[in-house]
């Protein structure tokens, strides 16, 4: 049966990253999650699979931590899952991730379509899908806001800076979808229970042909600080508060 592979990423929930007093980042409260935009991507793949009467396969490149993503991804409607379990994933750049994914994809038979998200919520680098297309020498379509498949032809509407571009391609191909492509439903609890019974394949770096040495050297990470005036009006009647704000706007020359 033809397969649609969805690449997703298990990321730190950035909303839970805190700032320490010394302006360093505190990750202790941060939980992992499936990158938010990947939820729409999974949904797009599930819908595409109906169009080609195929099945969907989740694929993630992650550390041992990413094991927890598998049932979550499967509960969102995927039929099976591949996980490249590699410590290298923690310091992977776009080159490494694309190489690992390409390596794993060559192990999966009858892939007709690879669906990625335009960008992951942690790096939002938007590199992996075109890199993957280049490595596999597959046609690639990015910034996809609409997707239709008929027979062997995939038609996509790309949302570019100031144009909507409709393109078509003969499968197989790689697409990178925008989160607006659909509304991803919350999985039901029944789907969670079913996820535990779906097949999972774990791959080690030795199982795949891939170059896992990063091309980019990270030297430091610091908190992004915004210096704002933070003049917050809490006291007084509503009228007094409004008057104070209008006064500030005046001084800034905004009114």
């Amino acid at each position: 049966m033809p397969k649609i592979v969805v690449c997703y990423k298990w990321v730190l929930d950035e909303a839970l990253i805190r700032l320490r007093a010394d302006e360093s980042l505190d990750f202790s409260a941060a939980e992992y999650k499936i990158s938010d935009y990947d939820r729409n991507t999974i949904e797009a793949a599930v819908r595409a699979a109906q169009a080609i009467e195929g099945t969907t396969v989740g694929l993630t490149f992650g550390t041992a931590e990413a094991k927890r993503s598998i049932k979550d991804a499967l509960s969102r409607g995927l039929d099976e899952s591949y996980w490249i379990n590699a410590p290298e994933a923690s310091r992977a750049d776009g080159a490494v991730t694309a190489s690992a994914l390409a390596g794993a994809l060559s192990k999966i038979e009858d892939v007709r379509l690879v669906v990625c998200t335009e960008g992951a919520s942690d790096t939002f680098a938007r590199q992996v899908p075109p890199r993957l297309g280049a490595l596999m020498d597959w046609p690639t379509i990015t910034s996809v806001a609409e997707l239709h498949i008929e027979g062997d032809t995939l038609t996509a509407v790309r949302k570019l800076k100031d144009s909507l571009e409709t393109v078509e391609v003969t499968l197989p191909c790689v697409v990178a979808v925008l989160p607006e492509i659909n509304e991803a439903p919350l999985p039901g609890l029944k789907a969670v229970l079913a996820a535990g019974k779906k097949p999972v394949t774990e791959l080690a770096p030795a199982d795949i042909e891939a170059d896992l040495s990063p091309k980019v050297t990270a030297s430091s990470t610091r908190a992004y600080l915004m210096s704002r005036k933070n003049l917050i009006i809490k006291e007084g009647s509503a009228e007094e508060k409004v008057a104070a704000l209008v006064e500030h706007f005046h001084k800034e020359g905004l009114v």
Binding site: A95, T123, P130, A134, L178, S219, E239, K241, V242, F249
Partner: protein, 303 residues
Amino acid sequence: MAGIYVYSDEPGLVAELLGFALSTGKQACAVTFSQEDADKAQAFGADKVLFFKGASPLAENYAKALADYLAAEQADLFLAGMTPRGRDLAARVAGYLACGMASDVLSLTPVAEGFTVEKMLYGGVAVLTETLASPAVVTIGSGKFDAPAAGDSPVETLEVPSDMRVRLVTSAPLVQEGVDLNKAEKVVGVGLGFSKQEDLSLAEDLAAVLGAEIGCTRSIAEERKWLPVEQYIGISGAVIKPQLYLSLGISGQIQHVIGVRDAKTIAAINTDENAPIFKAADYGIVGDMYEIAPLLTEALKKV
């Protein structure tokens, strides 16, 4: 020949990127994929304008040809403007070159071993500094470099094969369903503090007095569907730099704040004094937006 090769589908950005390339003292080349773009780029002061001529109308379909050229020339850097097409082409080139790439960087500095960049991580919570060896690929936005003095550059036309597998069917201008927030001087942002769609009239009244446009959070556009997606502000939506951003009933999650943090002045009205928006704001009122917004509209009318 070694050097810095720049591309953007925005002509103004091509000039700025050439400004960076020239500042490094390396050869600065503009890469184009149509006669029209080549003609425009000719006047930007590049050392050379390259016109990759082929059958496909889509720039990204020349990625393989460009990568082969850059490899042969031992290019130092391929620098693309951070538009969807620029990023796409850049990442494909990086894929074919199997080299390092940094996307949408905040800063770009030449160093002995190649280039150092700063970029945002975790939706903008953190800034990461990275070093890339040559050849490298980088994407960057406008406003970082000055365009060089105009000049008259030689154009070199290269007949190349293009990838014809992705076929262009139609291209239509993106019809703005909502307003163009990028052009707005002032923006009033609305969030989930609004409990009913009708209540948005409070924000509209205020925006009318301020001469502002309406923007919103992702939830308002994508979940509630009260406003077109073009109007949502944030890391995956519009990133704007107005003179004033006034938020109403927005908690201020980082993904939203990133979209406005280059605004000159940020003001916020929210019931919850602990809302993160206040940390990102110059001015704020802790109070019920339903009460404050009409009062503010009235007060501004009198100004």
